[in-house]
Amino acid sequence: MSTTHAFVSVRGLRTRFGSLRAVDGVDLDIARGEVLGLVGESGSGKTTLGRTILGLTPATEGSISFDGRDMVTMDRAARRGLRRKMQMVFQDPHASLSPRLRISYLLTEPYEINHVADRDRSSVGALLEMVELPPDLASKYPHELSGGQARRVGIARALALRPDFLVFDEPTSGLDVSAAAAVLNLVKDLCDRFQLTYLIITHNLSVLSFVADRIAVMYLGQLVEVGPAEQVLDAPAHPYTKGLLSAVSEPDPRQRSRSHRLLLPGEIPSPRNPPPGCRFHTRCRYAQERCRREPPIVEEVEAGQRVACHFWDVVRADSRDEVAGDQGELDTSRPLT
């Protein structure tokens, strides 16, 4: 993907809030039409990275380019025009949709704010239809909607300006299984239908296994692993990725053994005072003396898969062994009945 120019390109990006370094040196490319999943725990900086890419939070340092044009140095009017082409779908629709406005108003508000000419507007009915909602929802208020419906209104609002690039923040959090599945199916269909480019932010890797082409893993403001979804999920080369994967509760009782192999211990340290050397060493079972002193550099371990770990080859070999050992295995040491 480095051969053609990236649709969204981020270089050396830093976002600080006082002494808190939420995003601390991120390089990332997203190709046109690609779905990139960004995963990490709460406090990893993933939402701040998404907001910074969209310009909702100002960058402290670094460059962000969109379709080859530099967003940071561009003048305000040009940026405003470009911003219409990139939208965010917020995590909590009930908090991001004003409770006193009807759905019809909420869906036309983006046009008013951006002074969009009538001929360039989609009707409220068309927007509702895009997200598979009935037209009579237009006269309702946000509190009258279910969680899944409110999420769809949030998506419709983001689609109103016909963007090319969408950032989803935890698209399924708080939804039950069936509603989450329906929203994920919709998100994927819209991507194909309107040839959109996505950045999907989540702490849930099973969501990404369904929608993402590539996955970027973030820890304490930095990307620790980026690569094609299959490679990252099947042969993770960073111990943090492995830890996140082991923490996912798969809806398959036969995989009970998996969750005991590598629990990610403790919690993410404060980004005000990240550990020296490799930031992950305090929770890493592969950590050696070198990791406490020397920050790892990002290495390309396979085509398109980049990892920041001194011992990525050991980690990846372990991942491959485990996948091989998983075939049909059932941990009988833990009673199922």
């Binding site: 279910s146 039950d176 069936s178 296994s209 999920l233 509760s249 629990l263």
Partner: protein, 199 residues
């Protein structure tokens, strides 16, 4: 007690306020409070739904340990099938106020009997079914004050037949498992088609 639920430096932190703890630590403290009187039964209502996957995994490990060390029975209430599959021995599936299926976890996930259970399992994204469309359940759970007659799941059921709209099914036993479905047939195994599961 705080040490048992995995709070580091417990003796030093006894004087701190809840807001000074992270979400995962607060959930551990809730569990510690519930365990103080050494209950024989712990009822956990969505104890991990607001947590990151890593913290969720840690809380599940804690519950497993408590159960093995103290023999505490756990009633784990959840909509997260993955967590149930990883933690529980038996599963009871409820719909609109009644039990639709009850059985051991392994056979229930491998061969769900009730169409609702089948649909729930098919809706959960898993790494094994990467990229395939997720199954969804049309419609929504009925209001408990206006329940449909007959089988309460019938309006959303992929296998619905006329009998379901008239007669309310009984919970019947089959091989130690229980299912409430009019068209479930023990002789041919279970509900005829299994198209909901897109495996």
């Amino acid at each position: 007690m705080l040490e048992q639920v995995g709070i580091p430096d417990a003796s030093e932190r006894i004087g701190t306020y809840p807001h000074q703890f992270s979400g995962g630590m607060r959930q551990r403290i809730m569990i510690a409070m519930a365990l103080l009187l050494e209950p024989k039964l712990l009822i956990a209502d969505e104890p991990t739904s607001a947590l990151d996957v890593t913290l969720e995994a840690q809380i599940l490990e804690l519950l497993r340990r408590l159960r093995h060390e103290r023999g505490t029975a756990i009633l784990f209430i959840s909509h997260a099938l993955g967590v149930v599959a990883q933690l529980c021995d038996r599963i009871l599936v409820m719909y609109a106020g009644s039990t639709v299926e009850l059985g051991d976890v392994l056979p229930t996930f491998e061969r769900p009997l009730h169409p609702y259970t089948q649909a729930l399992i098919a809706a959960a994204p898993t790494r094994g079914r990467r990229g395939e469309p997720l199954a969804t359940i049309p419609g929504k759970v009925p209001s408990l004050s206006a329940l449909p007659t007959g089988c309460k799941f019938a309006p959303r059921c992929a296998h619905v037949q006329d009998v379901n709209l008239e007669r309310e099914p009984e919970l019947v036993e089959f091989d130690g498992r229980y299912v409430r479905c009019n068209i479930y047939d023990p002789s041919s195994g279970y509900v005829a088609t299994n198209e909901l599961q897109s495996r």
